[in-house]
């Protein structure tokens, strides 16, 4: 299951990330923000005006906006 398939308000743990699917700098930026393998996250907000992009993810005490393409590269497990 990938992160983009998780609904608003749901929690999950990141099992693996397909780093090759992300631009190198974006991978770095995500890791620097704590979005990495093993991180526990929650979907806070999803999409604007009917689209499913962007996504606001809660990691620890931070809320981080990412795009659906980033979320699709992350394998997660519901917790």
């Amino acid at each position: 299951m990938t992160l983009d398939s998780i609904g608003r308000g749901k929690r999950a743990e990141i099992i693996s990330i397909d780093w090759d699917a992300l631009a190198p700098d974006e991978g770095k930026r995500l890791r620097a923000l704590g979005i990495d393998e093993g991180a526990r996250i929650a979907i806070a907000h999803k999409g604007v005006l009917g689209s499913s992009d962007p996504i606001a993810v809660m990691v620890g005490r931070m809320t981080i906006a990412i795009r659906k393409v980033h979320a699709a590269a992350m394998q997660v497990e519901a917790i």
């Binding site: 770095k28 962007p54 606001a56």
Partner: protein
């Protein structure tokens, strides 16, 4: 020893670094660009008790020394001592958000590993307590191996302790021979350590936290969020145009008074004309926009300091993505409605170079306040003041259409650019949404003052030089008997030479002539037309009224519409081009910008002219 000691503030974005910097240095800050890059260098003086004065540098916020943006790269280079012309800091103050230690301690470890003297400022402890978090600075200090001081920058709490700690560290820096780096560890290790240290430093944690999730429920709501943003934008534009009026009047009054004073004080002649017609008229034409820019920036700074700006970027991201940009471009483009110059400077926060370049190239298409005088005069002259629906005037509708034409044009251009010259690496959107905070008046005022000053200094010098040159071109050579000064002048000769190119798109000779001095600033076109029609009046309102009549009598509707279409696109602003050159480090992109904008202006003015002739308007 007489060498200035340097103390650098580092930390994650949103750690409250700038507020701490403002609190420590007050308004006496020096802002400059690091040579070769377009990242602002903010520095100020900090007096240490009994240890003299040090220079305090506010480095751009960073998540890591493994950098991903031009901002972060500057921080890394300065801290490593690799930045040419910039001495390595003697002491580092790492600023931590008390409510988000787990994240901020990751970068703090990287900083401490460098082996330089470090002081940690545990900032925003009040917000942490509001979130139900009680922390133990002593535990944190022993875990990190550096002194830790609790601060609340915006309330000036803990500042004396912090300054004392900096003085101690600064003293130890003098005795320390060589910075000895501690062993490097990997990011996952750092993250684990950060989590453990944060956990150990928390005395108590209650669950009543995150008041901001309540606000986000509305502001980031997929259907309620966008209308709230658009309503806010509507209020901002109303304010920019309505609230600025009295101040614009004041500035114009002051300009006229200065003009009268010079006229009275100096003998008639070249120097007096240069001062009144060149300096006062030229510089005045820029300063007049200051109120609108300050009002717009007040809103932008408020949106930034409260944390709403990141939400606005979130809400706009989907729309911007449809033309290959991201929500990050929204902020610079919003600024460009006041003036493209600060807008282009605001693109610095965009990490992706191609994203940033695209934003710079389309920024001049946002209808800036300098176009307004041109639009206002011509619309009033040729568009009848009738209504086309309940409460909808035709003149207002045309003005609105001109704004929309600029926005739609920008979107189409962005789409084309992202597929051609700036193609590559699909721009992503990864952005921290900071916690909501109440803005502080002092930080707001310092920010406004800095932006106003940068605008005045840059635009003022360029505009000043340009208007003087144009004034000289309009004044020389002197016309003979019975000859019009405008026709005889170099400017007149230039316009006569280029006029054949503008005839096919419906422009008359006076319009072509107006375009020449309007290269300095768009609104100069109005003054130039007024001069051309020999409307001699000191009173500005009267000039406008008379000019309106002249245009109404002499211009056909297609010609006037073509002129309006021209101004939607034409890059008639030397300052914008100069800033674009500076921000892109070369002439290549400004030339691309000039070429495509003039081409669009020509095509659309021509199309407008021939379409309206064909429609029999």
């Amino acid at each position: 020893m007489n060498v200035t000691r340097r103390v650098a503030l580092v930390g994650n974005p949103n750690a409250g670094k700038s507020a701490l910097f403002n609190a420590l240095t007050g308004a006496r800050q020096k802002i400059a660009n690091y040579p070769g890059v377009t990242v602002e260098r903010k520095a100020g003086k900090l007096a240490l008790p009994g240890a003299g004065t040090v220079e305090l540098i506010d480095l751009p916020g960073s998540y890591s020394f493994d950098t991903t943006s031009p901002d972060e790269e500057v921080t890394r280079k300065v801290v490593m001592g690799e930045f040419e012309g910039e001495a390595r800091p003697d002491v580092m103050v790492v600023v931590l958000d008390a409510a988000n230690l787990e994240q901020h301690l990751v970068f703090a470890q990287e900083v401490i590993e460098l082996g330089l003297p470090v002081v940690a400022a545990l900032n925003m402890v009040d917000l942490a307590e509001r979130d139900g978090l009680k922390l133990d600075p002593a535990a944190l200090s022993s875990a990190l191996g550096v002194p830790v001081v609790s601060t609340v920058a915006v309330r000036r709490k803990g500042l004396d302790d912090l300054i004392a700690a900096i003085a101690d560290a600064e003293h130890s820096a003098e005795t320390m021979k060589d910075a000895e780096p501690r062993p490097h560890i990997t990011l996952p290790e750092r993250r684990l350590t950060a989590r453990n240290i944060a956990k150990a430093a928390i005395l108590s944690e209650s669950t009543e936290r995150r008041m901001h999730t309540g606000l986000d429920k509305f502001l980031l709501h997929p259907w309620i969020g966008p209308p709230i943003l658009f309503a806010l934008l509507f209020v901002i534009f109303q304010a920019v145009f309505a609230w600025a009026d009295p101040f614009i009047g004041l500035i114009e009054g002051a300009g006229e008074a200065a003009n009268d004073w010079v006229v009275a004080a100096m003998p008639e002649g070249f120097v007096r004309d240069l001062i009144t017609e060149g300096l006062l008229a030229g510089v005045g034409s820029v300063i007049v926009f200051l109120p609108q820019i300050i009002i717009l920036f007040a809103f932008i700074l408020l949106m930034e300091s409260t944390g709403y700006m990141a939400r606005a970027a979130f809400v706009m991201d989907r729309l911007m993505a449809s033309v290959g940009l991201s929500g990050r471009s929204f902020i610079p483009l919003l600024s460009s409605f006041a003036c493209a110059i600060p807008g282009i400077m605001a693109t610095r926060s965009i990490a992706d170079p191609k994203d940033r370049l695209t934003t710079i190239l389309i920024a001049p298409l946002m209808t800036c306040s300098a176009r307004l005088p041109v639009y206002a005069v011509i619309i009033a002259a040729v568009i009848p003041a009738t209504t086309v629906g309940p409460g909808i005037g035709l003149q207002g509708l045309v003005l609105f259409a001109l704004y929309v034409a600029g926005i739609v044009g920008a979107m189409i251009v962005a789409l084309v650019l992202r597929r051609t010259v700036t193609a590559g690496a699909a721009s992503g959107f990864i952005m921290e949404l900071p916690r909501y905070q109440l803005p502080r008046l002092k930080d707001l005022l310092i920010g406004l003052w800095q932006r106003a000053w940068v605008f005045l200094r840059r635009a003022g010098t360029i505009i000043f030089a340009a208007t003087v040159v144009l004034w000289l071109l309009l004044t020389f050579p002197k016309a003979g008997e019975g000859e019009s000064q405008l026709d005889a002048s170099y400017a007149g000769q230039i316009s006569a030479a280029v006029h054949p190119a503008f005839e096919p798109i419906g422009f008359n000779q006076e319009m072509t002539l107006a375009l020449v001095p309007a290269m300095a600033a768009r609104e100069v076109a109005v003054a130039s037309l007024a001069t051309t029609y020999a409307v001699d009046s000191d009173d500005e309102a009267e000039t406008e009224e008379a000019l309106r009549g002249q245009i109404a009598a002499r211009w056909s509707l297609p010609t006037a519409l073509a002129f309006l279409a021209w101004f939607v696109f034409a890059p008639q602003c030397i300052s914008t081009i100069a800033v674009a050159r500076r921000e892109t480090n070369g002439w290549k992109w400004p030339v691309v910008m000039l070429t495509y904008l003039f081409a669009l202006a020509y095509i659309f003015a021509g199309a407008t002219y021939w379409l309206s002739v064909w429609l029999g308007l």
